[in-house]
């Protein structure tokens, strides 16, 4: 492809490129390591493409501004790390409930609390799922390479727009900061999805009346479509109905059903290694890189090892894990935390699942995985 551009780029930079190609034209953020390159990149790029970049007074405000801008019709991004991710949870819940497309990047660092600001972790995996209160649905994608930062940024925006749903990209300090070769496709060849707009006249329009796919339609603000939206349980017309059991049940189940309807579009994973594997390593994010190297070395010495990389973490791709794990004798789940996603893997399979964990701010290295697999 003559229009492919080859670059040497950081994961955080590639994420900026992907977001811009996807159509992001608004960014609001707050300085935090190791996510600041995304904020800095957006501050340099958005003014040149007719977009708006805002550095807000805090993480909560940057989440709010992104949702507000999306309510005005823009594709919006915000980026943070653990401490900021905690503060953004309120807004993530609002975006779920009000069905506002927005993409949130959490470049994970060591925690809890201020933790280890420059060192990697995967400690926010459960927070990404259940960080904000209430029964809310969420989509979480996790890149392992610079190229995946680019690709999953586009995918995140497409899913956010398609399903009217906040989408979280869980990157980490390793993937965010490492530099790799990346082939950027011609932007005109990239598939872009935009939110569905109503074709009903203003008097018939109800902002939360869903289509067959359970996703409601937007209407342009600043027109005769004057409508209300609120963060309470609400009717299809958007008005509070927070003491109405039937309305609550209908709304909250629909919010979840939207994701079920688009499960195939959301779910993404990759497989590496020996097809006739004896041990399956399930991995995500930066650990995938060590798992691939380990599998390569182990397979070279005659072991049969496969690696299932989960790129979509939530909704948890249970069926995929079940299918791949069924072919293995044992499953290994290395994570840079004390074991968060491993419970989901255990729920998906009856095969023995072992963990390999660390919480000291260091990466999991291929040698550790090799040693562990040899014991299995």
């Amino acid at each position: 492809m003559s229009n492919t551009t080859v670059r040497f780029m950081q994961g955080n930079e590639a994420l900026v490129e992907g977001a811009l190609v996807a159509g992001a034209r608004f960014f609001a953020g707050y300085p935090i390591t190791p996510a600041s390159e995304i904020t800095e990149g957006m501050s340099a790029r958005l003014p040149l493409v007719g977009g708006v970049f805002l550095q807000m007074e805090d993480e909560i405000a940057s989440m709010g501004a992104a949702i507000g801008a999306s309510m005005a019709g823009a594709k919006c991004l915000t980026a943070t790390s653990g401490p900021g991710f905690s503060l953004k949870q309120e807004g993530i819940g609002i975006a779920s409930m009000m069905e506002i497309p927005v993409v949130i990047v959490d470049v994970m660092r060591g925690g809890p609390a201020s933790g280890m600001s420059t060192l990697p972790s995967q400690m926010d995996v459960m927070q990404a799922r259940w960080g904000c209160h209430g029964d809310h649905p969420i989509i979480v994608l996790s890149p392992a390479t610079v190229t995946e930062c680019y690709e999953l940024a586009i995918k995140a925006f497409n899913l956010a727009e398609l399903i009217r749903q906040p989408v979280i990209i869980l990157s980490d300090a390793i993937v965010g900061h490492l530099r790799e070769r990346i082939e950027l496709p011609d932007p005109s060849t990239v598939k872009i999805i935009n939110r569905k707009m109503t074709d009903k006249p203003p008097e018939e329009y109800a902002p939360f009346e869903a289509g067959e796919d359970d996703v409601p339609f937007f209407a342009e603000r600043g027109t005769a479509y004057r409508y209300h939206m609120c963060s309470n349980v609400h009717t299809e017309k958007g008005f509070p109905a927070d003491t109405n059991n039937a309305v609550a049940a209908k709304l909250i189940t629909r919010l979840h059903r939207k994701l079920d309807n688009y499960a195939d579009e959301i779910t993404c994973y990759k497989f590496f290694g020996a097809e006739d594997y004896d041990v399956l390593i399930t991995a995500y994010g930066c650990v995938t890189r060590a798992a691939r190297d380990a599998a390569k070395a182990l397979n070279a010495e005659g072991r049969k090892v496969g690696v299932l990389q989960l790129q979509s973490l939530w909704p948890f791709p249970k069926a995929v894990v079940a299918e791949y794990a069924a072919k293995a004798r044992k499953v290994l789940m290395p994570e840079i935390n004390l074991g968060q996603l491993i419970d989901q893997v255990r729920l998906a399979t009856d095969r023995p699942v072992e963990g390999l964990n660390r919480c000291d701010g260091a990466e999991i290295r291929p040698e550790q995985i090799i040693e562990k697999v040899r014991e299995m």
């Binding site: 034209r25 608004f26 609001a28 003014p47 040149l48 708006v52 805002l54 807000m56 007074e57 805090d58 909560i60 405000a61 940057s62 989440m63 709010g64 501004a65 992104a66 949702i67 507000g68 801008a69 999306s70 309510m71 005005a72 019709g73 823009a74 919006c76 309120e90 807004g91 609002i94 009000m98 603000r221 600043g222 027109t223 005769a224 004057r226 409508y227 209300h228 939206m229 609120c230 963060s231 309470n232 008005f239 509070p240």
Partner: protein, 276 residues
Amino acid sequence: MTNVKDYIRQDKLPHIWCPGCGDGTIAGAMIRAIDACGLTKDNTALITGIGCSARFNNIMDFHTFQTAHGRALSYATGFKMMKPEMDVLVATGDGDCAGIGGNHLIHTARRNIDLTVVMINNQIYGMTGGQYSPMTPYPSIASTAQYSTFEYPFDVCELVKAAGGTYVARSTTYHINLTQKLIENAIRHKGFSFVEVISQCPTNFGKRNKMGSPYDMLMKQKEMSVTVEQAKDMSPEELEGKIVIGELVNRTDRKPFDEVYQDMVRKALAKKGEKL
């Protein structure tokens, strides 16, 4: 003469406010001000947070959304930047705006973004049952201050002024014509405009503090108020316990935020042009 009904979603009545509440009076003034300024319903957005004030936009027929507690200004900032041609107003309360949303108030004022904020100061968290707010006078009784409050309130207009708000004004529900006039001026002002309206909450503040009927509470507002002009000749001791009403700040020396942003964009494009 404004027909207020033209701006009300009739099917959303009755509203939820208690008898004697100031919210309806202020909502009426807001509508008359919007009408007087010639804003159209299709081009006006009214954004709120949480609390009694957040229910302003349930009944008002504009582009409306009710967001998170204290965050209306953040949402409004994002919205306004992507819809600069729309007139964007925020209705908020003392708890919503000066309490949980205080940081957003400071920085939204500092940016001088072209929003109009009407802060209804009823000096209490009304919707949740009468807990004391950052605006509750010391000493008072509240549901979370059964013996007495033990904190001092602060002057929110002084805060907005110090942060760089370019239009700051205060009125009361008693002085409703002044309130309307100040909201009109605020809407016409290019940049961040803030109108504090001292209001009465007979149910959750007045009753506990033995302030009498809503009428008595309004008369108290009248009694306590002094105009900006009168206040000029008064000592700090004389101003103690007074409500200074009128226009407190009206600056035109700072461009609104979206214009300053566009200035930066022009610089960015010129700089990029040089490189190419």
